[in-house]
Structure formats: C-alpha cells, structure tokens
C-alpha cells in the first residue's frame, strides 16, 4: 500500500480560512494555541500516523483480531503502536486540563483524528470509543467514579467501550433487555448479552471500562426505562490498583467485511453471579447519558468518511500518474500517456478531491462550533452554536460516511483491474469504509433525526443562521470580477431558492404527515450536505481568489481551489436545484407500492 501523507497544508487552510478557528484560539481558554503550535501538533501527529500506525494497516486487515483462550489478541504490531499513541499523549488532546487532558480545541482534535483514521481506521476505533466513555463519565458520573476511572481513560492507559446493541435491539435501543439488579452496597449486578461491541476485549491496555445500557427491575418500557452502568473488566481498588476480574467475557468475535483489526465482540455479562456495575447518572436517564457519548462519536464517525476518502484519493492519484495506458488526442507523444491525462480519470480524481475539501470544511466547522458552544463569552451565542452542532451532526455522520464509501469505490475504479486485487490496498479502503454508514445510528436513522428533531429545534434558528451565511457568501462572490465565481454564485443562488422550498415542505410534513417526511428524509439530508459542501468550497474559492488578486500568491494550490469549487457546484448543485421534485415526491410511490406482492 502506498505511503500515507498527512494533508497538513489542507487542514491548516481549512481551519484558518474556512472556519472560525482564529476567533476560537483568541479566546482565553485557548490562549496557548498559536498558529505555530497548531502546525507543530499536526506535523507531529502526522508523523506518528503515517509511520508506525499506517505501517500496520495492511497486516491488520490480513491477520485481524483473534480470540485465543478466551481473550482477544489484536493483530501484529497493534499493542506496540497503541503504546506509542498513548505515550504521545494523543488520546487526551482535547480533554480539559483538570482531568489530565491537553485542553486543545475539539476542532484540532478532529484533524488529528483524521490523520490517525486515514492511517488505520481499525486502530483509530479504540481511542474513538475511549473518548466517548470519557465524555459520558465526565458529564454524568459521581465524583468517586470520576476519581477512579477518568484519568486512566483520558491518558488511554485504559480503554472504553459502548454497549447498546443486543440481538433484538439495534436501531431500536429501547427494546434492549439486559438487566441490572441493585445490590445493597449501591452497585448493580448486570446480566445480559451485548453484540457487535467494538474493542469489547483486546490486549492493548490493562483494563477495559465498559459502559453498558441495561434495565433496572420495574423500569418503564422503551427508552425511558434504560440506565447506564460502568462495568469494568477488572475491578479497581480504592488505591487505584487493579484487582480480580469481573463476571464478563468476550464470547466470540465476528468475521466481517472490513476493519478486521478492530475486534467486534459478543459480550457476555453475568454468566454466574452477575457482572458488577455502577450507575452513571440517574436511573432511567441512560439514554441522555449515552447521547453525550454518541454525539461526539457521530462526528468522529463522520471523520472516518473523510479519512478514508483522503486515503483512497492519495492512492488513486499516485496510481493515475504512474500507470501508462493509451494515447490521448490532448497529449502529443508517441508513447502511452499516464492515465491522469484522460479526462475521465481527471474527473474521478477531482470528484473525490472536491468532496474531501467539502467534508473537511463541514467537519471542522462543526468542530469549531462545538468549541464555541463551550467557550464563547456570550450565553446566547453558546446556545446557538450548540444547536448548530446538533443540526450538523447527523449531516456530518451520514453525508460524510456515504461519500467515504463512494470515494473509496471511485478510487478503486481509477486503478482498473489492479483495484480489484487485494494486494493493491484500494479494496481495503472500500471494505473498511462500508461500516461507517451503519454504526453509531444508521444513516437512515440520522436522516430521521435531522428531519423530525433537529430542523425544528428552537424554531429553526440554526437553519436560519446557515442560510444567512450562505446568502452573505453569494453576495461576496458577486462582488468579485471573476467568471468562475459568478457561475458558482448563480448556481448557489438557485440552489438556495430550491432548498428553501424543500426545507419548508419537509418541515411541515414532519409535523403532519409522517410517511411523506420519513420517505424523503434521506434525500433531504443528502441535498443539505451538498449545499453545505458547496458553500465551504465556494468560501475557499473566494479566499483563494482574493489571495491571488492581492498578489500574495500565485500558487496552484489557490488556483485549484477556485476550479474545485466550480467543478463541484456544476456537478452537484443541480441536484439541490431540482430537489423539490425528489423531496416532494414524499411517500407517494413508497406508500402505494404493494411490497408484499414482491415476495419478501
């Protein structure tokens, strides 16, 4: 597999020119975060990612994690690489200082995650889940639990898991049946089977802290009766020393399409006396606690889409320059040309590249909003930013993971037959990326979340804010003397008109016609993603245009940004412009077809 090269310049450009990162780092909480430091952090993270962590990506895919004598063994090289990751302090990058973190912006943490995930997605899942556990514990657990577990999880010396899924309870978490029986000492005994638990067991760390959703006796039905428990693999004495093993184990590992090095475990809790656990938050408040954990995890899963697209892009680009095939009327030469000379190959490369830039803009903007929602000086602004994060999270999760997979497919296509051959490595990206639209709430569930909850919160203030930003950009684009920018702004303008129609339609259906709104939710999410993606690319184009105009630069980096934005606008905004046709189709066909007659 070709070398992975962390796109540091691209990340810096996005943070500094597209997002409000500079404004963020001027806040007192981030006073140490200079531009130089940001760059140094990205550079050093990139070194570790592209070195020892990328080195074990392919062997991880080949060997996978295995269950031996009741314990999970990760693929060769994983324990050593994880040790380097922990020693580097990367696990705690954006956690606050008082729990042992490095107190860097969440947005910067996302970029660092991007690198580790591009290098090795299966590896990166372990810290992803640990971070989720840290979020849930720091927000909801008692002081004594925090004292015992938090610092080791922040450092990554111990890792975390998230246990929602059961055989009969997937998307519908409310139907889970794992039991939690209270003990007189305030602890609970947990009995039940969880499936698909990522890094449910492994040999990377000395302890694993499971966060498990379960029901206490006589709890209300559905999601209202679920509580969250901390269930350690090994008990921890009050002095922090690790004691005997809890009544839990990994029953088996799944064989799966991709992310082979990430163990996906069936977890058996309480085969004998019960797995001892401690309540996090209040009884029956488990969903709330879990959402704290899942919100950031959903953004992190969105990052996986970006990361795999970037990796697939780098690999495809390198191949496109080195593979010679055919002649081109555009190139005067007697020899075969590199396939990058063929317009259709250029199209594939630019298609991935433009989407990568769009995703990075969307993800890092969401990351900066998340930081501002915590640290902005004004309370109203905090609330607005927090609602923007809520609104954008399902889009980040779904739009980016769908693109991650389709880009891996396009990247494979660039290779021709070589792409289909495992040794090339392009196929691994395709297989690895396929899980991301499924876990952390399927993309279909995300679309429902967007349409039925997020659009309407606070009377749509967050949506209005985004509309205003796009309108402002359109007028800024119009003020420049550039045919490229003019074409982009015209397409954006038409898109906005249509998007407004689609949004109004689906918002009203969300209230009065479930079938219509639910039928169009996914297509609506997709066009929302395209519109935002185009907005971020156009912003990049405008910034680049101004840099060239003010003669600060004449580099291809900036010239390309303008063409990338134009390409994406011309190829994808027509979908937004025509969206009322697809969105307003609603549930007519879907509701009328007699599916039973298909067989099923």
């Amino acid at each position: 597999m070709p070398h992975y090269s962390p796109p540091i310049d691209e990340v810096l450009f996005t943070l500094n020119e597209i997002t409000a990162y500079r404004e963020l780092t001027s806040l007192s909480n981030f006073k140490d975060i200079s531009e130089d430091l940001t760059q140094a952090v990205l550079k050093e993270a990139g070194k570790l990612a592209s070195g020892p962590i990328a080195d074990i990506n392919q062997i991880g895919d080949k060997k996978g994690a295995t269950l031996e004598n009741g314990s999970v063994k990760t693929a060769p090289g994983f324990p050593e690489a994880y040790k380097k990751f922990v020693e580097g302090g990367w696990n705690g990058i954006s956690f606050p200082e008082d729990i042992g973190g490095q107190n860097m912006p969440f947005a910067l943490g996302l970029s660092v995650n991007e690198f580790f995930t591009s290098a090795n997605m299966a590896f990166s899942l372990c810290p992803l889940l640990t971070s989720g556990a840290v979020e849930a514990i720091s927000a909801h657990a008692s002081e004594s639990i925090k004292k015992k577990y938090l610092s080791k999880l922040v450092s990554g010396e111990w890792t975390g898991t998230m246990n929602l899924t059961e055989p009969q309870a997937g998307s519908d978490v409310g139907s889970l049946t794992t039991k939690a029986i209270p003990n007189s000492d305030g602890s609970y005994n947990i009995f039940g089977t969880k499936i698909y638990i990522t890094y449910g067991d492994h040999d990377l760390a000395e302890n694993i802290i499971h966060l498990v959703l379960a029901r206490t006796p006589d709890s209300p039905k559905g999601t209202k009766g679920i509580s969250l428990f901390l269930v350690p693999k090994f008990f921890v004495n009050d002095d922090g020393v690790i004691a005997e093993k809890n009544d839990l184990r990994c029953g088996s590992l799944e064989r799966k399409l991709g992310i082979h090095a990430s163990p996906t475990a069936v977890m058996l809790y309480g085969e004998t006396q019960g797995a001892k656990g401690w309540l996090i938050g209040q009884e029956n408040q488990g969903m709330r606690c879990m959402f704290t954990m899942m919100n950031h995890a959903r953004i992190d899963v969105g990052v996986q889409g970006l990361s795999i697209a970037e990796r697939a892009y780098q690999q495809a680009l390198e191949y496109a320059f080195s593979r010679k095939q055919g002649k081109s009327p555009l190139v005067q030469s007697d020899e075969s040309v590199s396939i990058i000379e063929h317009p259709d190959v250029k199209r594939m490369i630019l298609d991935i590249k433009s989407k990568i830039d769009a995703m990075r803009g969307l993800i890092l903007t969401t990351g900066v909003y998340a930081d501002l929602s915590k640290y902005h000086s004004n309370d109203d602004s905090k609330k607005l930013y927090s609602e923007l994060v809520d609104l954008l999270t399902p889009i980040v999760k779904s739009w980016c993971t769908d693109i991650g997979f389709s880009s891996a497919s396009t990247g494979l296509q660039v290779h021709g037959g070589m792409g289909f051959i495992e040794e090339t490595g392009a196929a691994q990206h395709l297989r690895d990326s396929r899980i991301a639209p499924i876990y952390e709430g399927t993309n279909g569930i995300q679309a429902l979340d967007l349409v039925f909850r997020k659009l309407s919160q606070s009377g749509g203030k967050a949506v209005d804010f985004l509309f205003k930003q796009i309108r402002e950009l359109i007028s800024d684009l119009n003020n420049e003397d550039s045919q490229d920018l003019e074409i982009i702004s015209e397409l954006l303008e038409k898109s906005m008109d249509s998007f407004k129609i689609s949004t109004e339609w689906i918002s009203s259906k969300a209230i009065k016609n479930f079938n219509d709104a639910a039928s169009s939710a996914s297509i609506y999410l997709d066009i929302f993603g395209i519109l935002l993606g185009s907005y971020f690319l156009s912003k990049a184009a405008l910034k680049s245009f101004n840099k060239i105009k003010n003669q600060k630069t004449n580099s291809s980096f900036y010239k390309n940004k303008i063409q990338i934005a134009r390409f994406f606008a011309e190829q994808y905004l027509p979908r937004v412009i025509n969206s009322p046709v697809s969105v307003k189709a609603g549930g007519t066909a879907l509701g009328s077809v007699d599916f039973a007659s298909f067989g099923g």
């Binding site: 070398h3 090269s5 140094a40 020892p52 860097m104």
Partner: protein
Amino acid sequence: MKVLVAVKRVVDYNVKVRVKSDNTGIELTNVKMSMNPFDEIAVEEAIRLKEANKVSEIIIVSIGPKQSQETIRTALAMGADRGILIETESEIQPLSVAKLLKEVCDQEKPELVILGKQAIDDDANQTGQMLSALLNWSQGTFASKLEIEEDKLLVTREIDGGLETLKLTMPSIITTDLRLNEPRYASLPNIMKAKKKPIEEKKPEDFGIDISPRLTTLKVIEPPKREAGVMLESIPQLVDKLKNEAKVI
C-alpha cells in the same frame, strides 16, 4: 557536559522528488519538508545521553531558511533544551556549514557535537569531518553505538565488512548511522513545552563567515529509466548471460 546537535531541513524522505524543468535543481515548491533522518537520530542520541545523566544541556543548531525554525522546534519537542537558528536563504555547502558550526562551538563550548553522517538531499557526507578538522577535535563517524566511559567516548562504527570500536578523547565530533537508535515521536505535552524553549536567531554575517558556494551545480537530471527485465528459462542461461552479456563473472 553540553552537547550540540546540528539539524538540517530537507525534503521529506517519503516525497518522490522531481527535477525542475530547467534542470537547475529539485522542485521545492509545495513539497513536504522534514528533519534530515540522520539528524533525528543525532537528536535522539543526545536525549538518551541526557536521560542517562551524562549530559546537562542539548543545544540544537540549524542553518537554512526561516522555516528551519520548525525543524529546531521538532528537536525541542523531542526533548532538546534550546535552539540556535542561523538564517540564510542562499545555498549553503558543507564547508560553510562546518565553519559556522565551528564558530558556534567556540561560543558555546560543548564537549560533544553530534551530526547526521549525511543529509539526504545532497548526500555530501562531509560536514562532520570538516568540522572535526577545523576544531582539531577527535571524530567518530558512522556511529552505530555510543558510550561514555568517564572522559572517553566509545564509538562503534560501521565499516566495510564489520564493526570497529574507537576510543575517543573528548571534545569530539560524532556522526550518526541509521542503526544507532530509533528516534522517538514527540509527545503532545512536549510539543507544548517546546513552544516555550528559546531559539536564538543569527545570521552568517554575525559570525563574519563568508558562505558563498565554492562549487557550482551545472545540471540536475533524472536518473536513466530502468530497462524492463527479462525472464530466463534456466540457470545455465543465467550464467551465460552473466558471463557474456553483463561480463561480471
């Protein structure tokens, strides 16, 4: 004891370099730059000596464009103490580097200077040796092992066909080979700390050294393309080809 480590900013070893279309050199715009890998080994060795309490201070020197600051920062993030940047935008050849380093040594009075055996951009493999001559200090080049025994240095060197161990009287110049150690990755807390470590900025003129090149590059070209290989049917055929075509046996 003070150690001085010289580091150079070069094209990253993973980059596939391209020759400029006018054949005057290598394309450097938008190319990823990093610390010369042999110099990373030099920095690592100095840090290990410090961790073993054999060294009290590690000073990093880099000569080159302004961005060489980042290279110094990387060394500081690995664990070095302070930096000196001698800033110049012009081409700088080994003898000039050695002269400048001699001036720094005269000021800082280290007992040990560690350098990479060569930089991967020009592969000159000269600076350490020249510096040793200018200072009249002992030298141990291509070190694959380094030990301090009281006031002596034991240096194991990689030579043709084996290893050789030298005992040097300090002050000394050491140049590193690949197998000396495996450099560490900078940790996040150390990257933060490195921001606060001082980097002194100088210019070659401050030392009164003339750095104008003594050698002129006439032309840089791509190596010839490798010809396609052939599959042979048998061992005798191979022997025949080696004898009569390649004329190597």
